[in-house]
């Protein structure tokens, strides 16, 4: 009798844990990306992050977290800690082109890319990868890079990347910034040190 109750209790606990974690996954807060013209006006402490998207697949998304730092990039030896919970950015409806959203200023880490394909739950964990960061400077248009999730893939691999194409696509980036480009400066906002913009503008 005791063993039966223990077994039932164990099963219930396990079910509860599974359900809550699944529930938690399914209910990550989301932040959609918008056409840059549709982004709301900025409040104090906010900037606009802009991605150039070229993503494919059924329901791709990325997960981001803000890093605990005031700097636009982490220096050597810095510990990576997060000051926010994960935030999911669905990409299902924003597959091709420039999309933007306003975000609180800070350095962000893309911690995960999800690119499911039917029964192939492709997931790229990049929680520590420095090349998958972007910085949102206050009151600026922050170009975070070109996010690519390739259409064609293998059963065990997929080509995913975040590429800094600031020089390559500068004209298109400026055009995509739309009305904001009249009032806000453009920032090459990859979250690692890159002195190219400084060289270009000095």
């Amino acid at each position: 009798m005791f063993l039966r109750r223990l077994a039932i209790l164990t099963v219930c606990c396990l079910l509860g844990a599974y359900t809550s974690s699944s529930f938690a996954k399914r209910t990550l807060p989301t932040l959609p990306l918008l056409n840059p013209e549709s982004v709301e006006e900025l409040e104090s402490g906010y900037g606009i992050v802009m991605f150039d998207l070229d993503v494919a697949g059924k329901a791709p998304s990325i997960v981001i977290r803000r890093i605990s730092t005031q700097s636009p990039f982490l220096s050597a030896g810095s510990k990576l800690t997060f000051e926010t919970k994960p935030l999911r950015i669905p990409l299902t409806d924003t597959k091709q082109g420039f999309f933007a959203q306003r975000l609180k200023k800070g350095l962000y880490q893309i911690t995960r890319v999800d690119a499911p394909f039917f029964n192939l739950p492709y997931k790229l964990d990049i929680e520590n990868a420095r090349a998958w960061r972007f910085y949102v400077a206050e009151e600026q248009i922050n170009y975070a890079g070109k996010l690519v999730i390739e259409q064609t893939r293998g059963t065990e691999y997929i080509d995913v990347g975040l590429f800094n194409r600031f020089a390559t696509d500068l004209k298109e980036i400026r055009e995509a910034a739309g009305r904001f480009s009249e009032s806000l400066p453009l920032n090459m906002a990859t979250g690692i040190r890159d002195d190219f913009q400084m060289l270009l503008e000095q």
Binding site: F117, F163, N164, F166, A167, D194, F196, L199
Partner: protein
């Protein structure tokens, strides 16, 4: 008009004509960058025939060369045999009547899943008794691979089938299904041959490779998954007993930083195997590994391509070549017998026996020299050797260029270099193209045929190729000396060799041309040494080292390797920035050409566009071109030809004006 005036006009006219003629008779790069004609040749066991695998315009073809009558005929033209979507990946004789080939076919597969779009099958082609007859073609429907042709047992071969229990079967060709034959109740799959009666070896676990003694036909070893997380190497003795030689942890806890040397080819020593490091980022290295003593020796590094298989001399079992993936195609690279990495390069020519008859009287050789593209030669040891095919038939006679091999001392290192000189006499000197190779670590310029070198030489240029510190093919010390030397030691080596060559009376003005790291070297040295170089061309070149190191594909062990060999962008950003030509373009004073592919996954096209923007800022000229749909290496013939034609025109104009 006086006679003197007419004479002057005629003189001027002839000078102008000469200049125009000279400019228009540049040798086109299209001749040098084409698909090869012959892909491979194999001699039948008796030596009576050779099978020649050729590229055709849209497909492949197997031709047969009769060594007695010295006549050639077509055995199978894939374009006519199949729907045109099939290619032949590898080919070998099973016996004197049968050729085994791996057919790779395209199919619809699962939408967007690339690895479901190709299907591979083993096909056996039976040579007809009379010329002109169509061959019988059989196909093995069961998934697996050819383990050994059993040349001494005509009509039979060993075939491996892997699953929870992996087995090797002895199959008979005559019982197989014909290619395209429909199955029915009366027609069994593969003639019903996959039965215990035909088993010759088995192992519990999924086998990835079997080793067979080709003389006896006995299975001698196997690489297999002894459990889901363990890959094992086991040897078989004559009684079929298994002895475990090595285990590798391949599960999630596996150390993917350490070398994982997986055997690919057996040698005469039952404990020694030629192995590939499957943990290596790009799988370009081959080792000889003694699994009893755990001693390993690096025997070969491919220039830039992933090695997918090894080629062995069938009698000596020595390694004589590799099969590499080059822009999606498989090709063979021969290099002769190697036992150690040091001083592997011969005197500029290669003569490798790649196939022999069973009685060793007849042989098939692969020959290549710095001025002679690959040629396949049959010899019966009595008469004159007979050429069976060329990689490039239009260059069958080779070139009259000369190559000198020298070295120069830099920082206590002996830096080898190759100087190719045109056939003509200098008038009074040859303009020089300095062509640093890419890499820079673990890559080298070999003294054999190089299309770009012969193209420049055909156009009247001397060509200097420097195996700077970091290069493979010489000593481990030279290779290791290239670590963290992108912007310093390596460039010093290139300059030292350049100065030595330019001190010669027969060498004149110089330009520098390079791809990838070579492009970085070209960009850097045109800025640092404008008195030496009159122009520079960079193809897929790195302009910003920190940008290169921070590519989003560089993670884990690749990132670690780059930190150790190129530099640490987190701790040494400023030093790497200072070594990046992007940040010194204000000093550019010579013509510069930059070309790049917009789908370059190794050096992003951003490198090229950054250079363009900065030069626009400084109002300095740039010849700029981006190739759409082009990756990092320009191995597609048309694009390579276009790129080199542009470079030829650019250099000619730059040297003429400068």
């Amino acid at each position: 008009m006086g006679k003197n005036t007419i004479a002057v006009c005629l003189c001027l006219l002839s000078l102008v004509s000469t200049h125009i003629c000279a400019a228009s008779t540049a040798i086109d790069a299209g001749q040098f960058f084409t698909n090869v004609d012959v892909r491979t040749v194999d001699l039948s066991p008796s030596g009576k025939r050779a099978a020649i695998l050729r590229n055709t315009e849209s497909s492949h073809r197997i031709d047969l060369y009769d060594t007695e009558s010295q006549r050639e005929s077509t055995l199978l033209d894939l374009a006519q045999f199949d729907d045109g979507e099939t290619s032949i990946r590898v080919m070998t004789w099973l016996d004197d009547r049968h050729i085994a080939a791996q057919f790779v076919s395209s199919r619809e597969g699962v939408k967007d899943l690339l690895d479901t779009r190709k299907t591979s099958s083993l096909v056996i082609i039976q040579v007809p008794d009379s010329a002109g007859e169509s061959p019988l073609v059989y196909r093995v429907r069961t998934n697996g691979w050819l383990v050994d042709p059993l040349v001494s047992e005509p009509g039979q071969f060993l075939f491996a089938k892997s699953s929870v229990y992996s087995k090797v079967y002895r199959l008979e060709v005559s019982k197989l299904n014909r290619y395209g034959q429909k199955l029915s109740k009366l027609v069994k799959v593969d003639g019903g041959q996959f039965t215990p009666r035909n088993e010759v070896a088995s192992v519990k676990g999924y086998a990835t490779r079997w080793f067979v003694n080709s003389t006896s036909g006995q299975v001698t070893g196997v690489v297999f998954y002894s459990d889901p997380n363990t890959l094992s190497l086991a040897s078989y003795n004559g009684q079929g007993d298994e002895e475990r030689l090595s285990d590798w942890n391949v599960g999630e806890e596996a150390d993917d930083e350490a070398k994982r040397l997986i055997p690919i080819l057996a040698t005469r020593d039952p404990n020694v195997f030629y192995s590939i490091d499957t943990n290596e980022d790009e799988q370009r290295s081959v080792y000889s590994v003694d699994f009893s003593s755990q001693q390993e020796t690096l025997v070969y590094e491919s220039r830039a391509y992933k090695i997918i298989d090894l080629i062995q001399d069938k009698s000596s079992l020595q390694l004589i070549g590799v099969k590499v993936i080059d822009e999606g195609s498989v090709r063979s690279v021969f290099f002769g017998a190697v036992e150690q990495q040091e001083d592997r390069f011969g005197p500029g020519s290669l003569d490798v026996v790649i196939s022999q008859s069973l009685d060793s009287k007849q042989s098939l050789s692969y020959r290549e020299a710095h001025n002679q593209p690959g040629t396949f030669v049959w010899h019966d040891g009595v008469g004159e050797p007979h050429v069976l095919g060329h990689y490039y038939p239009h260059f069958s006679k080779g070139f009259d260029t000369r190559m000198e091999v020298h070295s120069t001392e830099v920082d206590g290192l002996s830096i080898p270099y190759l100087l190719t000189l045109p056939a003509d006499k200098p008038a009074p000197s040859f303009p020089l193209v300095v062509m640093p190779h890419g890499g820079p670590i673990g890559v080298s310029d070999n003294p054999y045929y190089d299309a770009a070198t012969q193209l420049f030489a055909a156009n009247g240029y001397a060509v200097l190729r420097v195996n700077y510190r970091g290069s493979s093919g010489y000593s481990q010390a030279l290779r290791d000396a290239g670590k963290l030397q992108w912007g310093s030691g390596i460039l010093h080596d290139i300059m030292a060799a350049t100065r030595e060559v330019m001190a010669r009376d027969d060498i004149g003005k110089a330009c520098i041309v390079g791809a990838s790291y070579g492009g970085y070297a070209a960009l850097s040295l045109i800025l640092r040494e404008p008195d030496t170089f009159r122009c520079a061309a960079s193809l897929s070149g790195v302009s910003d080292i920190n940008l290169y190191l921070n590519h989003s594909h560089r993670r884990g062990k690749r990132d670690k390797w780059l930190r150790e060999n190129v530099g640490d962008t987190l701790t040494d950003y400023d030093a790497l920035k200072d070594a990046s030509p992007l940040y010194h373009l204000d000093t550019l004073s010579r013509p510069l050409m930059v070309m790049h592919g917009d789908e370059d996954g190794t050096v992003d096209v951003e490198h090229a566009f950054r250079v363009r923007h900065i030069l626009e800022k400084y109002q300095k000229p740039l010849v700029f071109h981006v190739y759409e749909g082009q990756g990092h290496s320009f191995s597609e013939p048309e694009k390579a030809a276009d790129a080199f034609n542009r470079i030829l025109g650019f250099i000619a104009q730059s040297l003429h004006s400068g």
